[in-house]
C-alpha cells in the first residue's frame, strides 16, 4: 500500500527532528460531520448504543455548556477555538467491536507497535502492564482483560462499562468533576467519546500496572476522553497514561476528564507521560491540552497520588487535584512540566483539605527553554473542619536561555488554626560552569542539558513506575533538543 510507504517516510522525516510520533496512520474512519449541536450528541450516543439516561446526561451538559464562557484566567495565549470546526467523533472503521486482539485491524496494531506500545499480549512485558488503547474517539483494544477479571478487577473502555456495569458508572460518573464544573469539563460531559474505566474491588491489590495509551490520528478531530477509576475499600492500583498525536499544522483540542475515587484505605497512583505534538519551533500547530483531572479521597486513610511528566502540547492547561474528604487521607502531586520553543504550560494542583489530619505534598518542577512560558498555579485550601491538616509545597523552576519565562502562583487559604503549611520555591538557571563541566567530560550539549534537567527533576522521576521512568527520561532529552546552542 502506497500509504504505508508514505507513513514510513514521514516517520523517518520526523525522527531526524524532534517529535518522533508525528506520523499519520492511513485507516478508514467513521467520522461525524464537523460542528456541534444537539444532533451531534445524539449521533455520538447512538453510535455508542448508549442508554437513555446517558444521552439525557449529555444533553443536559450541552445545555449548560452553551451558557458558559470560555475562561481566560490562565497565563496562556492562543487563538480562540472555533467549536463548529471540529469533528467530535472519529472511529477506525470496523464492523463490530473487536472481540479479541486478533480482530483488531493490523494497521492499528502496527501503529501502536511503532509508538512502542505493543498490544499483542505475548509481546507485552510478561504481564507487567495491561493496556487500553484509545485511537481517536474509541478504545481499540484492552489487553489482559481475562487475567484481571479473575480478581474481579474491571478494566475496559468506558463505553463498555456503560453497558456492562451501569450501576457503577451511574453512581460515580460526574461525582468528582460535576457536569458544569468548568467550560472544558462541561464540553467533555456533552461529547465524550471513550476512555478507560477501572474498578478495583475491596481488598484487591491490582497485580499489574494498568495503562491507557491515547492517540489522536484524524485531522480536525477533538479528543474528549473520559476516565473513571474507582478503588474500593483497601484496594490499590497503579495507572499509567501516555499520549501522542501526528504532526499537523493546525491546532487540535484535547479536553479530557479524569475522575478518581478512593474509599477507605484505598490507594490510586496515577502517572502520566504526556507527549502530545507540541507544534513546530515557531508555534505552528500542536495540541491544546485542556484537561480536568481530579481525585476524591472519600475514604478514611485513603491516598491519591498524581505524577505527571508534561513535555508535549502547544498549550497545557491542567491541575490534577485531590479532594481530601476522608480523615487521615493523603494527596500527592509530583510534576515535571517542560516547555520549549513556543510552548505554554499553566499547570499545578489543588489540594482541598476537608477531613481531619489530612496531608498533602506538592513537588513541582518547571523547566522552560526557547521562548516558552511555564506557570505553576496551585491552591492549598484548609477548611474549618480539617483539624491538624498539613501541606508541604516545593516549586522549583529551571530556565534555559534568556527568552523564556517561569511563574509561580500559589494560592493558600487556611480556615483552621491548627493547619501546618509550608511553601518553598526556587528559580535557577543551568549555569555556564555546569555545561562546560559536562562538555569537558565528552558529553554533547544536548546530553548535558538532559542530564542536568533529569537531575533537577529527580524527586519527581523516582515516583514514576520503572518502565515509565526510562521513557520519560529519554523524552526530557528529546523535548529540550536544540535548547542550547
Amino acid at each position: 500500500m502506497a500509504a504505508t510507504a508514505d507513513t514510513v517516510r514521514q516517520v523517518e522525516d520526523v525522527t531526524g527532528g524532534a517529535y518522533k510520533y508525528g506520523f499519520v496512520t492511513d485507516i478508514e474512519a467513521d467520522v461525524a460531520p464537523k460542528g456541534l449541536d444537539e444532533s451531534t450528541i445524539r449521533f455520538i450516543s447512538a453510535k455508542k448504543e448508549e442508554p437513555e439516561w446517558l444521552l439525557e446526561w449529555r444533553l443536559k451538559a450541552f445545555e449548560q455548556w452553551k451558557r458558559m464562557i470560555e475562561p481566560e484566567w490562565a497565563k496562556v495565549d492562543y487563538e480562540r477555538i472555533d467549536y463548529q470546526d471540529i469533528h467530535y467523533y472519529s472511529a477506525p472503521k470496523q464492523k463490530d467491536g473487536p472481540k479479541s486482539l486478533d480482530e483488531v485491524d493490523p494497521e492499528l496494531l502496527a501503529t501502536y507497535a511503532k509508538l512502542g506500545i505493543p498490544l499483542k499480549e505475548q509481546e507485552l512485558l510478561a504481564g507487567v502492564v495491561a493496556v487500553d488503547a484509545v485511537f481517536d474517539s474509541v478504545s481499540v483494544a484492552t489487553t489482559y482483560k481475562k487475567e484481571l477479571e479473575k480478581k474481579g478487577i474491571v478494566f475496559c473502555s468506558i463505553s463498555e462499562a456503560v453497558r456492562e456495569h451501569p450501576d457503577l458508572v451511574k453512581r460515580y460518573l460526574g461525582s468528582v468533576v460535576p457536569v458544569a464544573d468548568n467550560y472544558f469539563a462541561c464540553l467533555n460531559s456533552a461529547v465524550f467519546t471513550d476512555g478507560s474505566f477501572v474498578y478495583i474491588p475491596k481488598g484487591v491489590r491490582c497485580p499489574m500496572e494498568l495503562s491507557t495509551y491515547f492517540r489522536i490520528n484524524a485531522q480536525n478531530t477533538g479528543q474528549f476522553e473520559r476516565t473513571l477509576i474507582i478503588a474500593d475499600e483497601g484496594s490499590y492500583v497503579s495507572y499509567l497514561e501516555g499520549c501522542t498525536a501526528p504532526q499537523r499544522d493546525e491546532n487540535q483540542l484535547h479536553a479530557a476528564v479524569v475522575e478518581l475515587v478512593t474509599l477507605d484505605d484505598a490507594q490510586i497512583k496515577y502517572s502520566t507521560v504526556q507527549n502530545w505534538y507540541p507544534g513546530d519551533e515557531n508555534g505552528k500547530g500542536g495540541i491544546y491540552n485542556f484537561v480536568t483531572k481530579r481525585g476524591a479521597c472519600r475514604g478514611k486513610r485513603s491516598k491519591i497520588s498524581w505524577t505527571q511528566v508534561e513535555t508535549g502540547s502547544a498549550i497545557t492547561w491542567k491541575y490534577p487535584s485531590c479532594i481530601l474528604q476522608g480523615d487521615d487521607s493523603v494527596g500527592e502531586f509530583y510534576s515535571v512540566a517542560i516547555t520549549n520553543n513556543a510552548q505554554q504550560a499553566d499547570t499545578g494542583t489543588k489540594m482541598i483539605h476537608l477531613g481531619k489530619n489530612t496531608r498533602s505534598t506538592i513537588i513541582s518542577k518547571g523547566i522552560s527553554a526557547g521562548r516558552a512560558d511555564n506557570t505553576y498555579r496551585g491552591l492549598v485550601r484548609i477548611s474549618k473542619k480539617a483539624e491538624g491538616a498539613r501541606n508541604y509545597t516545593q516549586c522549583d523552576s529551571l530556565l534555559i536561555g534568556d527568552k523564556c519565562g517561569a511563574h509561580t502562583v500559589p494560592y493558600i487559604e487556611s480556615k483552621n488554626p491548627t493547619a501546618r503549611i509550608e511553601h518553598e520555591a526556587t528559580t535557577s538557571k543551568i549555569s555556564e560552569d555546569q555545561l562546560f563541566y559536562c562538555l569537558s567530560r565528552g558529553l554533547s550539549a544536548e546530553q548535558a542539558v538532559s542530564l542536568i534537567v533529569n537531575g533537577f527533576c529527580k524527586e519527581v522521576m523516582k515516583e514514576l513506575p520503572m518502565e515509565f521512568a526510562v521513557e520519560a527520561q529519554k523524552l526530557i532529552g528529546i523535548s529540550l533538543e536544540g535548547s542550547v546552542g
Binding site: F436, S440, G442, Q447, K458
Partner: protein, 250 residues
C-alpha cells in the same frame, strides 16, 4: 610526533589579552609543570586547551595528536583524549556520579568506535579505580560533587580521569585546598596514571605538589608568556626565590 604542540598562542577573555605568545611542546609520556604567580594566565591556558566558551584564541595554533585542536568543540576535544581536572569542580545536583561517569565513558568509547560498556563491567572498573583513591561506594552514589569536601572533589576529578584514560591530563591547581594526606592520595592517583603515551600538564603555584608528581620539565608562566623552562630543579629554585624576577622582567 609531539602529542601537544602550541605555537605562538594568543588568547583573550572579555576583550582583555591574557596569553601573549605561548610556545609549548609536550611529547608522549612527558609530564610538564607550569608554575607562575596569580593572574599569569595559567587557568586561561587550561581553559583554552579544553575549549571553554568565552576564551577566545586570537592568534597562533594548537596541534593535539596531529589534529588542529582549535577546530574542535569542547566535547570533541574530551572524547579525543583531553581531560581537564578542574580547580573548582562543579556541582551537578541530582545527577548521580555513576550515571555521569558512565555517560562520559560511553561518549569516549563511541568516539573511538567501541561498544558501550555494560553495567557490570562499568561497576567493576569504577570500584577498582575508586579503591586506590579511597573513594567509598557511598561517595559514588552521591550527586556529582554535591556536598563533597574540597578533598573529595579533587579525588573525584582524579577518579574521572582514571576511568576515562585520556591522552593528555591537564591538572589545574589540583593541590589547592588539599591537606598533606589528601595531597598524597591524589598524587598517588595521578602517578598511577603515568604511562607511556599519556602526557600531563600540571598547573600549580607550589613546588610541594611536584615532590609527589615529579615533572620532566618545568615552565614559568608570567604575564601571558613562558619566561623560562628547566628541569625539576627549577621548581625548587622558584620555591626559594619566588616569582619576583619574572614579574619584573616582563
Amino acid at each position: 610526533m609531539a602529542l601537544l604542540e602550541i605555537k605562538d598562542l594568543h588568547a583573550e577573555v572579555d576583550g582583555k589579552p591574557i596569553l601573549k605568545g605561548i610556545d609549548l611542546t609536550i611529547e608522549p609520556g612527558e609530564v610538564h609543570a607550569i608554575m607562575g604567580p596569580n593572574g599569569s594566565g595559567k587557568s586561561t591556558l587550561s581553559y583554552v586547551l579544553a575549549g571553554r566558551d568565552g576564551y577566545e584564541v586570537t592568534g597562533g595554533s594548537i596541534k593535539f595528536d596531529g589534529k588542529d585542536l582549535l577546530e574542535m568543540e569542547a566535547d570533541e576535544r574530551a572524547v579525543a583524549g583531553i581531560f581537564l581536572a578542574f580547580q573548582y569542580p562543579v556541582e551537578l545536583p541530582g545527577v548521580g556520579g555513576m550515571t555521569f561517569l558512565k555517560e562520559a565513558l560511553n561518549a569516549r568509547r563511541k568516539a573511538a568506535g567501541e561498544d558501550e560498556i555494560d553495567a557490570m563491567g562499568f561497576l567493576k572498573l569504577v570500584r577498582a579505580k575508586a579503591k586506590t583513591l579511597e573513594i567509598t561506594d557511598e561517595m559514588l552514589k552521591r550527586a556529582v560533587n554535591v556536598g563533597f569536601s574540597g578533598g573529595e572533589k579533587k579525588r573525584n576529578e582524579i577518579l574521572q580521569m582514571a576511568v576515562l584514560e585520556p591522552m593528555l591530563c591537564v591538572l589545574d591547581e589540583t593541590d589547592s585546598g588539599l591537606d598533606i594526606d589528601a595531597l598524597k592520595i591524589v598524587s598517588d592517583g595521578v602517578n598511577a596514571l603515568r604511562a607511556e603515551g599519556r602526557s600531563m600538564l600540571v598547573i600549580t603555584h607550589y613546588q610541594r605538589l611536584l615532590n609527589h608528581i615529579v615533572p620532566d620539565k618545568v615552565h614559568v608562566l608570567a604575564q601571558g608568556k613562558i619566561r623560562r623552562t628547566g628541569g625539576k630543579e627549577l621548581a625548587l629554585e622558584l620555591e626559594q626565590k619566588g616569582y619576583a624576577d619574572f614579574v619584573e622582567a616582563a
